[in-house]
Amino acid sequence: MTVGTAPIASAPIRPARSRTGLAAGRLLRLEFKRNAMIWLIPVAVGLFWFDCYRQSVAEPAMWNLRTMNMQGQALLDFVPSVVGAAAWMGSREARRGLTDLTGITARPRWFRQLAVWAATTGWALAAYAGCMAVLYGMTAHQAHWGGPLLWPATVAAVGLPALAAVGFAIGTAWPSRFTAPLAVVVVFFALGLSSQFARGSSSYFQVSPGLSGANDVGPDPSIATFYHYLPDLPIAQVMFLVGLTVAVLAAIGIPAGSGGQWLRRSAAILTACGLAAAGTAVYLTGTARLDVHGMIAIPALHDAASNRPIRYTPVCARTAIPVCLNPAYAAYLADVRTALAPALSELAGLPGAPASISQAATIFHQEQANQVLINGGNLRIVKGRGGRQSMALVLPDQLPGEPSSPVYTNDDFIVQIYELSPPLIDRVISGTRRRRLGVAALTGPDAEQAVIIGLVTAARTATLTRIIRQANMIQVAPDVPSSLAIISAGRPPGGQLPQVRLPAGVQAAAGRFAALPAATRHAWLVGHLSALRAGRITLAQLP
């Protein structure tokens, strides 16, 4: 073969579309490589760890508490890095005096700017994904039951491109070395403050991604435990953030020099579409209401299927009357058992005593402004068949381990649940038919009052002894109840409990009855409860 006959090597002719795609890929790769966000990822991750991660894992190991708490915090932690880096990159061409030079390149300016934004957002999302993986992995390792709530993580993830878009637009509009820090301060202030303006469950400000639920409810252990997490508010927030991102990015392409005429017109149309989406989301948020399960429901976005309760296999304590909890609360079963077991041992087998006690969901009710009535920490009758009734136990809406001031301990939790015992004892002994157990009435005969007081005293002594034994203390001297106050469940709204002195004879008989062995007390009650209720037993006849 000679030179003259050798075939001429030529590169295969590629379609124009393929070359365009390759060029776009190369441009994006360059922007990824030269992006300021790389330098700021340690800052973002450090802040996430210090603020969001530590705060989330300080909560009890329940998916709802940890993930709902994370949404707003994660966004605030990423604001300095993402907004700052985006503003810095957005002002790059103007700061370096390259606007004219790059203006004559083949690509429209808008195209190049979108590549810079995409690279900044990509690094931010990569860092965020890593942070989420650690937080969700840790929660999956520790949680007793349930699965990850993905909506809070999704809202925060969609928030990052929006933050980058806002920062990038600010940097493009006011290119200066001081633009980045000032943009960060403005966005941080706006994001942090936006959720504070939310008043009530129909506030437009709930569209702020800083909120993962009703403003004055916040993360609550009962939310998304008994009923599905409602995606209504997250959907509206995602719609708002996507609309905002599209509108801001498209607005960058409108000024002259951003591209050809059709490109600028397209940008204008996209801006209008983005604004319409964001505006629609704000409007929909204004139609929201707080549902009874503590979540925000938006009628236009609501799926009725979300109202179905979550099926679960309860975890039960081996008490005289079984007490069963949602498996998400498995860590608190021992505390509930400690609080209720003494009273349930006294009441088991008596006429009118419940056959079982099962945990029920907390009920939420929106009051004026941001006030929400949370019906936690109570017992109520849920069904009755031939005198064998089941009871629903609603645990307090605060759990031990949740950050609070003062610190809410396991002992506080036990004492709060124990306070449900006196009304339960009162109801079973007196045989009343009230569905809700509030403050015990003590309106019966003297002997009945003495028995109730005696049982409450015995249950209280046993509960407190267990608490103190758990705390490794040596001696216990629980008070002997001397007033009606000690057998109340919760405080009546707006005032102190009435301090009613009982007759000396009743107190003495109650003390005597409480001092009996538990088996003797129980045997006597089984045989004499009907007569006691009928008032045929006097104080002197009590053992």
Partner: protein, 244 residues
């Protein structure tokens, strides 16, 4: 940068034509020109300082710092309760500190470093001047407002510490991204104030925004960070990066 004024001996005594002008007292046009030239040279340090400050955008920096004070004053017009009353001044303080940190950047880079003998002095002067403007703006805003939660000492401590962080960040990563230091610390400070309010106080003195005003350890930590930042930037200057 070396400055030598001809016509002045060591100690500032006039020599040559300047001495003749001083002794005779007669003024010719040539002598007047010479006198003007010498006066101009005597004030060269002032000109140098002004050029240095201009290269660091001091007018813009001053405007930004005064703007932070005005923003704080406007915000304090409304009533802020709970921990927001302490977080709000902290945001203005962090903004001022980030502006001071960014202002350390040089548009000349290495050429300035190899020729400027007086550069450390100029750096020190510009940082202290910017710090003074920042503190004055914020303190005046607080003093004229109806209620500044934490008081002036809180503003003084927090701003000084945040500026120190910004200067250290400038030395570490360059002035371009030095704002990440004070603004990152802002998030930590905001969290500390939130924790104070919700019964989870952070007791470390290094997180001074969350500590009481009269906490000596917190004041000491903020002062140390400020002194360290000023010293490092004075000695080394902001880090130069290839693309700057």
């Amino acid at each position: 940068m070396s400055i030598e004024a001809p016509g002045l001996a060591a100690g500032g005594e006039p020599i040559g034509q300047d001495a003749a002008f001083a002794s005779t007292g007669s003024v010719s046009s040539a002598q007047r020109l010479t006198w003007l030239r010498l006066t101009w040279l005597r004030l060269a340090w002032l000109r140098l300082a002004w050029l240095y400050l201009a290269s660091r955008r001091l007018p813009t920096v001053a405007a930004g710092l005064i703007g932070c004070g005005i923003a704080l004053r406007v915000a304090l017009h409304w009533h802020w309760d709970t921990y927001g009353a302490l977080q709000l001044p902290l945001i203005a303080e962090a903004a001022a500190a980030s502006i001071v940190a960014v202002s350390t950047g040089s548009p000349f880079g290495e050429p300035e470093r190899v020729t400027g003998r007086w550069l450390p002095v100029l750096r020190l002067g510009s940082v202290l001047a910017a710090t003074a403007i920042a503190l004055a703006g914020l303190l005046i805003a607080g003093a004229t407002a109806t209620h500044l939660a934490g008081g002036s000492l809180d503003v003084l401590r927090n701003t000084a510490g945040l500026i120190g962080i910004g200067l250290l960040a400038s030395a570490a990563v360059g002035s371009a991204l030095s704002w990440a230091g004070p603004l990152g610390y802002l998030v930590i400070g905001v969290y500390a104030l939130y924790g104070d309010w919700h019964g989870q106080p952070l007791t470390s003195p290094w997180i001074w925004p969350g500590r009481p005003v009269h906490d000596f350890g917190a004041a000491l930590a903020a002062t140390l960070v400020f002194v360290a930042g000023v010293a490092v930037v004075t000695r080394l200057g902001p880090r130069l990066r290839a693309q700057e």
